[in-house]
Symmetry: D2
Subunit: 286 residues, 4 copies
């Protein structure tokens, strides 16, 4: 018998495990599927898909739901979970939450009959994930550098969600924070919040940065901009592929570039799971 007080969690990585544990700690029954290779979690029962579907009205899938469009994103499943009519059939009639759920639709027509709720497209989900991303970026900067951040000149390129949180944290740690943006509106905010504003178009010639954090998904660190930097500068590229740095030019100039993607799940799965949970709870209340 399904139960409104039960959650089914199917597939995913450490974030889904943290999510399961956190929902169980809230007093709900939690059933998982796809975690046979993970250690058992307190208050959470690993079951077959049939049993999970039988017991739960609400199912939570990972973000992204799938990488290849064929199997569920389920690194802790030893056999893998194919996305097909069999799988989709269990979801019909249920409230299903997941990230980038559009990728499911080509796998079965049955998804049309499922109440799909994509948490990945919620703005508050992206905003809150900027926190573990920023902390992850700071951790990398600390690990890779022989210097401190405090008192050092650092650049945050781009003033979107990640740029806003990262510049705020770096200033909070005492760094001398420069932030680049293109819009007058963003440059005004950068000045108001006490950072040094730089127009992204004027990055060439800006130098003496100890660390540069790039958040712009376009090659703004061209050979020309890189040529002005010291080889002491470290670039941490947080932008999705192909990233914001001309990697060939950086290599020739001897400037180290670290690419850091999907940080929340890697550096802070507990917080990442908490954010998924809070977002879903708030979607359920609406």
């Amino acid at each position: 018998m399904t139960n409104r007080n039960s959650f089914g969690i199917v597939g995913g990585d450490q974030r889904q495990i943290a999510l399961a544990e956190s929902i169980a700690a809230d007093g709900y029954m939690v059933y998982t599927h796809g975690f046979d290779r993970a250690p058992p979690v307190k208050g959470v029962k690993e079951v077959e898909l049939e049993e999970l579907a039988e017991r739960c009205d609400t199912v939570i899938l990972p973000v992204p739901v799938t990488a290849d469009g064929k199997k569920l994103n389920a690194p802790f499943s030893s056999k893998g979970i194919p996305l097909d009519d069999y799988f989709a059939g269990f979801m019909v009639g249920k409230a299903v939450y997941g990230g980038m759920m559009g990728r499911l639709f080509p796998t079965s027509n049955l998804w049309e009959e499922v109440d799909c709720n994509d948490y990945f497209i919620r703005e508050e989900f992206a905003i809150r994930n900027a926190v573990p991303t920023a902390e992850g970026a700071i951790e990398i900067a600390m690990r890779e550098s022989k210097d401190v951040l405090h008192g050092r000149k650092v650049l945050v390129a781009g003033y979107g969600n990640i740029g806003k949180v990262l510049s705020w944290m770096l200033k909070g740690m005492g760094a001398d924070v420069w932030v680049s943006a293109r819009k007058e509106k963003d440059l005004a905010w950068i000045q108001v919040f006490g950072y040094h504003p730089v127009n992204t178009a004027d990055l060439a010639g800006k130098k003496d940065f100890s660390v540069i954090f790039n958040t712009i998904p376009a090659v703004v660190f061209t050979a020309k901009v890189l040529a002005g930097l010291s080889t002491q500068t470290k670039i941490i590229d947080l932008a999705s592929a192909p990233g914001g740095v001309d990697l060939d030019a950086a290599e020739k100039l001897g400037i180290p570039v670290l690419q850091a993607l999907s940080l929340p799940g890697k550096v802070a799965p507990v917080e990442a799971g908490r954010i998924i949970k809070d977002t879903i709870y708030s979607m359920m209340e609406e």
Copy 2:
């Protein structure tokens, strides 16, 4: 011929290498001895002790000058540098800077004729070193935890130099910062700067901390205090041996304790070298 514009740097680790590079970048001639196993540094010349003594009026030794009282602290020297009359003889008549220089005096009577200047006993040296120590502690906390610091309840035990900087940085990153002290004066400052004050005597029963940073060199985390903590809590012990935690009790309770000592030289030798340099420059001006 000695030269007032020359510095001799003898022994030490990455901090002394950073110091040498930084002094050279200020336009001085820099000679080193004891770094044959380290890569060459721009603007710095590795020489025999004789030549160094001949060319430099000012000599900088590491902190501590020696670990065993017999050899200079010189991990990058392949042969080692014995502390004896031969060594001390080269220092006579020179302005020699070092950390914990009292350890040199039993090694030769000639030290009585040396102008010894201990930078380790300067208060500003300890204060500024609290910065790399705090960043190192934060780096460890990030690396060891699956959660973020932002929004989490963290405890800084002790409000000395390190406690002051660490609580300031953690708050700047958005953590929910609790600080313990014993003196009413310190508790007042803790409250004024926006942290939650806790009397160190009342730590028992304080709980739900994500991370505890101990800076108190006395066992305040007794079995009784530890018993109130969750096994999710991580303790990072920054206090010198024997540290502030009853390690046996912590192990029995399953609470992980990380001991982290001498962080400046390990996590940020460049900043550590900069601090030594600034302290010596300021001593030279007096």
Copy 3:
């Protein structure tokens, strides 16, 4: 002969005076008209409109350009400056900057031939003006209260430009800052930046605030919400008429409400003039 290096400043209050002085300090020739009742300003020449038009290609009008639609907003002019064909005629062919310039068009058809540039509609203008507004609000709160802001529970209602800056400054001073908003996105930012989020729909029952700063131009402080507050609470209403508070209900309940509008020009005309100048300079560069 007109001069590209000359600015004409016509009408306005202390902000325009500060603007005139600031542009003169940048090395430009500055002519003013409409300030015969103001003390002379260093490097600035008060002239008749004819002479100003003859000498300047660029003219700056105040914000708002007019209050009544008939005369220029010119409190320092003893005779007043009518808005008519005569006035508009002098502006033809010039680059004219002003705030809320749409109000000029009904006063003369000649405005169609003027290069009008409204700085009031620029987002960066509104963002930067949030700074003097926030400081003015804090000054009022300090002046009207027998208590401090540090450590006190304060509410900022609304998370637009003013709400963002005001909550940031109050937190920087050590207040316990609560911020209300309606959108999940804004509530996420409020949480990320370390304030306590409150849904604006749930204000009823939220209490113990020392000061409430309202920035929402809609009556959110209804009789019901007000009924839950202490008479010790002070409300500072920064929202334009009719404001955000049910004034009758507040009076009956004995809750003091202070209405504070147009703060930048009143509390910090120098900064207000600086913002106008920076906005115009940046519009001229585009």
Copy 4:
């Protein structure tokens, strides 16, 4: 009959009134004497000295207890309260708290038999009072200036209790904060917390400050230092008489100086009363 749950409050200004109200709100019986000219306070009973002494074991006097050494500091008493054997007689055998109680001893030998507890000499009292002092100074700076503090260059001279809190708050509001001190130790802290350090001996020639807050009780703003300042600079002198500014020189140079003393009682009596209460409660627990 005296009562351990009663407090007697004798003399003082708005701070003592706030203190009385706050202690009453904690559930204690509160009797006052010396407030016949003040409006009645909720939960507090104004009585004759005889009755107060009869009912209370604990008596709280103001800070300072007396200005002239003859009468109690009691601005809300219409008749005045002479300090003599009659007054002291009522205090014998009681726990009496007050500020600068040494001034009482010459008024009667009976004070030798009184359990005197001076809260003014407690370090935490001075530290916490730095908060209302700093807010008062900021309020004055805002009121007297036509500019904002945000983004402006301001100087805090002296890094004692007030200097520490004031620089912290000004930075929190977004000012560009410079702090002067003489000790290397203090200069290190100033640098660590992200302010610009200036040696107090080098103030001459430091300029472009929008506001200077002096906390040093010695004339550091000599004619020579003042000569380097702009007449736009405002000096707010928080140091006790004779203050830190050569007033004659300042007048000749046209630099405005505002003297601001005893701010806590003037700008924030509620907080000042809260601090007295907390200090006394903590002294009672010892």
